[in-house]
Symmetry: C2
Subunit: 352 residues, 2 copies
C-alpha cells in the first residue's frame, strides 16, 4: 500500500478517521437538537463524502452550482438543495432536467428570479420547491424584510409549477441570534398571510454548535465541519487535531535561518485567509507559520526553536479548507501514514 | 458563430486583439533594448498563447512547474525555463525525461538542490543548464550574497552533467535598481572566479518597462503583460482598455439600491487582490466595484449613478489575472462580441 512518502507534493491529504468523527459529531448534535442536517458539499466536492454524510443521517445535500448538483446526482445523491438564484435560459433548462431525476429545491430573493422559475416549471404535479432567501444580517443576497418575504412567498404559491418551500438564510458570522429573530418574525408574517413555513434553513459551521431546541431553524447546511481548518479552530469549533485536511508540501529553499520556502503557494493554499493574519500552520513544527504566499511559493517564518531542512516534507493546515479543495484535481484519503485511496475532486471548478 | 451572449456565466473572455497587441508591444520593447523575452506562461497556461509569444520573437518560455512544462513540450514548445528548485526523486525523473526531448534550464539556490540535480544529470554530452537564483530584495528564494552565488556556480561548474547557466532573480516590485546592482556585483565576483555569466534573467511585468540598454539583465520573464489586470493598470503598465482578460458574470440579486450580487465569487475571481482595496471593476458601469467576495458570490457596491438590473450580464476586470486563469477549465477567445474559439486551460492546476 502507498504511504504519504510516496506522494509527490503539493498534495491534499484527508484523514478519514477525523473526517468521519467530524461527520458523526455534527450529526449527533443535530439529532440531539431535532435539527435536520443538509451538508454543503462545497467543502469536499466529493460524492464519496456526500454519501457518507447521507449514511450518517443527513436529509440531503446542499450544492451551490448546478454543475455540482449534476455531479452529485450522477453519483446517486437524490435530494439536493441549491440555495441560489438560478437565472438565464441555459441554467433553467439544466435545473429542469435535474428536477426530472432527483428532488431539487432552490431559493429566490426577487420577482425576476421567480419569473424565470415560473416560466420554466409549469407542472403542478411535480412542483419545484422554492425557498425565499432572507438577508438576516450577512449583507449578501436576500430579501430585506419580512413583508418582502411574504410578497415573494405569495408569488411562489400562485405559480402553478412552483411550491413555497420555506425560508433560507446564511447568517452573519456570530450573529445567529439576530438571524433567529428575523426568521421568527418572517414566519409569523407568513402565518398571518396563511402561508405555512415548514422548512427554515440556516448555515455556517461555527454557529451550528450554538443552535438550540428553541430555534425556528429546522434544517442546517454546514460545510466546513467535515474537514475543519484554522479559521474553525480560531472560532473554537475544534482543535488542530480535528482538522482532516492538510496540504503535503516540500521545503524547496531555506535562504536564511528564519525563512524557509515551501512548494505550496496561493495556487495550493489560496489567498483566502478568512481574516486570519497568516496563511497556514505547519503540523509538528511549532513556531513555523506560513506568513506569505506567491503563486507557487509559501514563505515560512521560523521563530524560536523551529527548524526545517531543504527537502523535508511538511503538512500544512490551511486557513480555509473549502477553497483549497477547489484548487486540486485529486485528494488522497489517508489513515495515519497510509494512503487508502486517491479520488478525483469530481465537483471541482464547476462554474455554472 | 457564437456570441458572448450565448455563453453561460461565469466565464473567462480573452480579447484576442488586445492580447496580441500586448505581446507585440512587449516584444518591441525588448527588441529595442536588446533584451531576450522569455514569457512566463503562468498567466495564460495555454499552448495557444505560448506559440504566439514565440512567433512574435520570444526565445523560449518560462514555466513554474514540471507539469506545466510537460504540457507545453507536448504542444511543441522547445525551450523551457523552470526557475524553481526541483527536489525529490519523482520530480527529478520527470525533469530528466523532459530534458531528453526539449531544451530545459532550471535554477538552484542551495547545495541540497544541486546534489539532487548532479546525481540525476550525469551526461557531459547533454548537460542541464542550471542558473543560480539570487534574492535581490524580494525575500523569497535565492542566495543572499554574491559569494554564495559564486560558491554555487562553482559546484554547478564542477558537476559533470550540469552547466552553469547564469543568474536568475525575481526582483522586489519597484526595486529593479537594487536588483540591478546586486546582479552586477555577482557577475563581477563570478568573473573574478573565472566563471562567465552569459545569461542573467529577471522578471515581473511592471519593471520590464523600466529596463534600459545599460542593464546587466539579458533576458526577461514577464507573465501578466499578455493580459494585464487592475494591478498592472494601477502600476501604470496600461489602461483598462488594454486588459485582455475579463470575467463574464450575471447579476443574480439586487437586495438594496446600492448592493448587487454577481455569480462570480472567489472561486472565479480569487481572493488575491495584490494589495488593491477591492476585487474587480465592472466594464462600462462606472461607480460599480466588487467590494466583497464569498466563494460563489461577488458583492458589488454601486455609487453615484451606477445601475444594474437582475439578469444583466457584466464583464469584470480582475485584480490579478494569472490566478483567475488557474480557476477555470476553459477560456473563450473573443473579437468584439464574437466568440472565436473555446480552449481548455491545458496547463491549469498542475501542482507538481
Amino acid at each position: 500500500m502507498l504511504s504519504i512518502d510516496d506522494l509527490d507534493t503539493p498534495a491534499i491529504l484527508i484523514d478519514v478517521d477525523r473526517a468521519e468523527a467530524n461527520i458523526a459529531r455534527a450529526q449527533a448534535h443535530a439529532d440531539r437538537h431535532g435539527l435536520k442536517l443538509r451538508p454543503h458539499i462545497k467543502t469536499h466536492k466529493l460524492p464519496y463524502w456526500a454519501k457518507k454524510q447521507i449514511a450518517a443521517g443527513a436529509v440531503g445535500i446542499t450544492c451551490q452550482k448546478i454543475g455540482e448538483a449534476e455531479v452529485m446526482a450522477d453519483a446517486g445523491l437524490t435530494d439536493i438543495f441549491l440555495p441560489y438564484n438560478i437565472l438565464g435560459r441555459a441554467k433553467l433548462e439544466r435545473l429542469k432536467a435535474l428536477h426530472g431525476r432527483v428532488t431539487v429545491s432552490v431559493t429566490s430573493d426577487s420577482m425576476e428570479t421567480l419569473a424565470g422559475l415560473a416560466a420554466t416549471f409549469t407542472d403542478p404535479g411535480q412542483p419545484l420547491q422554492v425557498l425565499v432567501e432572507c438577508d438576516t444580517g450577512m449583507g449578501r443576497c436576500g430579501v430585506q424584510s419580512a413583508s418582502e418575504a411574504v410578497a415573494l412567498a405569495r408569488e411562489i404559491d400562485k405559480a402553478r409549477g412552483l411550491a413555497f418551500g420555506g425560508l433560507m438564510t446564511y447568517p452573519a458570522a456570530g450573529r445567529a441570534a439576530e438571524a433567529e429573530a428575523w426568521l421568527a418574525d418572517a414566519r409569523q408574517a407568513l402565518a398571518a398571510s396563511g402561508l405555512a413555513c415548514q422548512r427554515i434553513s440556516s448555515g455556517g459551521t461555527p454557529d451550528m454548535w450554538r443552535a438550540s431546541e428553541a430555534s425556528v431553524v429546522t434544517e442546517y447546511r454546514p460545510g466546513t465541519y467535515i474537514y475543519l481548518d484554522r479559521y474553525q479552530v480560531a472560532k473554537g469549533v475544534g482543535s488542530l487535531d480535528d482538522c482532516a485536511l492538510t496540504v503535503l508540501s516540500t521545503v524547496v529553499s531555506h535562504p536564511t535561518s528564519t525563512r524557509a520556502i515551501l512548494d505550496a503557494g496561493s495556487k495550493a493554499l489560496s489567498s483566502d485567509t478568512l481574516g486570519l493574519p497568516d496563511f497556514g500552520e505547519l503540523l509538528g513544527v511549532p513556531g513555523a507559520t506560513v506568513t506569505g504566499l506567491s503563486e507557487e511559493h509559501g514563505n515560512v517564518t521560523l521563530s524560536g526553536d523551529a527548524k526545517l531542512r531543504i527537502g523535508e516534507r511538511v503538512r500544512i493546515v490551511p486557513d480555509h479548507c473549502c477553497v483549497v479543495s477547489n484548487l486540486f484535481d485529486e485528494v488522497h484519503l489517508i489513515a495515519g501514514e497510509r494512503v487508502l485511496e486517491t479520488l478525483p475532486v469530481a465537483a471541482r471548478g464547476r462554474m455554472g
